[in-house]
Symmetry: C2
Subunit: 214 residues, 2 copies
DNA sequence: TAGATTGTTAATCGATTAACAATC
DNA sequence: TAGATTGTTAATCGATTAACAATC
C-alpha cells in the first residue's frame, strides 16, 4: 500500500471525476496542466499526486485518461466494494440520502437509521430506514465499515459509539461536535457552520483588501 | 486587520463554539490544553491561534472565557452583521435552510432562490423563496456578500456568476464542480462525495494497518 | 530534430515542534 | 516560594517550488 496522505486521496478522487468527464467528452489523453486547471491546483501538484500512485505518463501525449482513471480506482476503491450506513434521518440525513442516491460510486449506502420511531420502517430515496436498535445486526451482516453521522450534536458521540461497536472504522461527521474515538478510527468532520463563517470572513477580508490565502 | 489564514479562522470559529459551551457550564477561565482536547488540536496550536489575534492569557488562570470569546467575535463577525443568500432549493438546499435556521450566528440568510417556478414564492423553515430573477434586486438591497450554492453541478457556474454580479465576494459551494472566479472572490468547496471517498479509503487503510495521517 | 512535457533532484518556504524564559 | 501555564525563540519537519535531465 502506497503511503499517501488523506489530502492526496481527496485530490485523486477529484481527478477521477474530472477524468470521467474527459472520457465522456471522448478525450483519450490529458496533460497535467489541463487537469490542474479544472481541479484548481498546480500542474506540479497533479504530477506529484499521480507519481505517488506509481502511474507514469507520456511526455508527448500526457496521461492516458482511461488507464489513469483505472489506476486511481485501483487505489481508492475496495475490490469488493464498501458498504455505508447513515445515522440520522432528519432534514440533513434525508438530503444526504438523495445526494448519494444518484452517484455511481464504489460506495453503497445500505440503510439509514434513527431513534425516532416515526421516521423508521419506510423507504426514502430508495434506502430502507430502520430503528437504531437494528444497526448492529444490519451493519455486521453487510460488513459495513463506513458511517455517516447526521444527528444533532448532543447525539453524535452516542451514534459514533454504536457505529464503532459494529466494527465501523471510518466516520463522516456532519454534527458540529468533535467525536472522541480510539486510535485506528478515522473521522472527517464537515462543519458547515464553521465553513460558512470562514467564507464570510474571507469575503469581508477580500472587501477590505486584507491578505487572502487561497 | 491581522494576517490570519483561513485555517486559523476555521479553528477560531471552533474555539468560539467551545467557549460558548464552557460559558453555559459556568466556567470563567480555561487553559489551552482543555480547549485543545475538545477541539482535537494541540495546546500549542490553541495558544498560537489565540496569540495571532492579540489576545493574552493569564499563566495562573488560563484564558478568560468571556473575554476571549468577545475577542474572537471582534475578529470574525462584521459589526453590522453579514447577509447570506442560498441558491438551490432542492433536497440539499432545504436541509441547509433548516440547518442554519436554528443557529445563532452573526450571519443571516435573508432568502433562498431557485429557477424552478414550483419551488418559489413560499416560506421554508422561515426563509422566503424567490425566483432567481429576483436575486440581483434582493441581494443588492440587503448588501449580501456571501452566497451558498446548492444546485446541481452543471448549474453551479451560472449561479456563481449571477451571485458575483450582485457583488458577492464569498461562496460556499456544495456542487461537485470547481468554480471559475476572478481574483478577490473566495470559494470554499464542500464536496461530500470526495469526503466520503476519503473516509472510506482511510477506513480501509486503517483496517490494513497502512499509514494513517490524521 | 525541436519542443513541450514528464520524472527527478535540489532549494525554498511555511508550519509545527521543542526548548526556555516570563508570569501569576 | 513552587508549580503549572503562558509567550517567545530556535530547531525540526514536511510540503511546495524551482531547476534540470530524460522522454516521446
Amino acid at each position: 500500500m502506497t503511503r499517501v496522505s488523506n489530502k492526496v486521496i481527496g485530490r485523486l478522487g477529484l481527478y477521477r471525476r474530472l477524468l470521467a468527464d474527459l472520457a465522456a467528452e471522448g478525450m483519450e489523453f490529458v496533460f497535467s496542466h489541463e487537469l490542474a486547471k479544472r481541479a484548481t491546483v498546480t500542474a506540479a501538484q497533479v504530477r506529484r499526486d499521480i507519481m505517488s500512485i506509481g502511474y507514469v505518463g507520456n511526455p508527448a501525449k500526457g496521461y492516458d485518461v482511461a488507464a489513469l482513471s483505472a489506476s486511481i480506482a485501483q487505489l481508492l476503491d475496495a475490490p469488493e466494494g464498501q458498504n455505508v450506513v447513515l445515522v440520522g434521518i432528519g432534514n440533513l440525513g434525508r438530503a444526504l440520502l438523495a445526494y448519494f442516491s444518484d452517484r455511481r460510486m464504489a460506495l453503497r449506502i445500505i440503510a439509514a437509521f434513527d431513534t425516532d420511531e416515526s421516521k423508521v420502517n419506510r423507504v426514502l430515496h430508495g434506502f430502507r430506514c430502520y430503528h437504531m436498535r437494528m444497526l448492529d445486526k444490519i451493519a455486521r451482516e453487510h460488513s459495513v465499515d463506513v458511517g455517516i453521522i447526521a444527528v444533532p450534536a448532543h447525539q453524535a458521540q452516542a451514534a459514533a459509539e454504536r457505529m464503532m461497536e459494529t466494527g465501523i472504522r471510518g466516520i463522516l461527521n456532519f454534527a458540529p461536535t468533535r467525536l472522541v474515538v480510539p486510535h485506528g478510527v478515522y473521522v472527517e468532520d464537515i462543519n458547515m457552520s464553521v465553513s460558512l463563517e470562514r467564507v464570510a470572513f474571507m469575503a469581508r477580508a477580500s472587501a477590505t483588501k486584507a491578505e487572502l490565502r487561497l
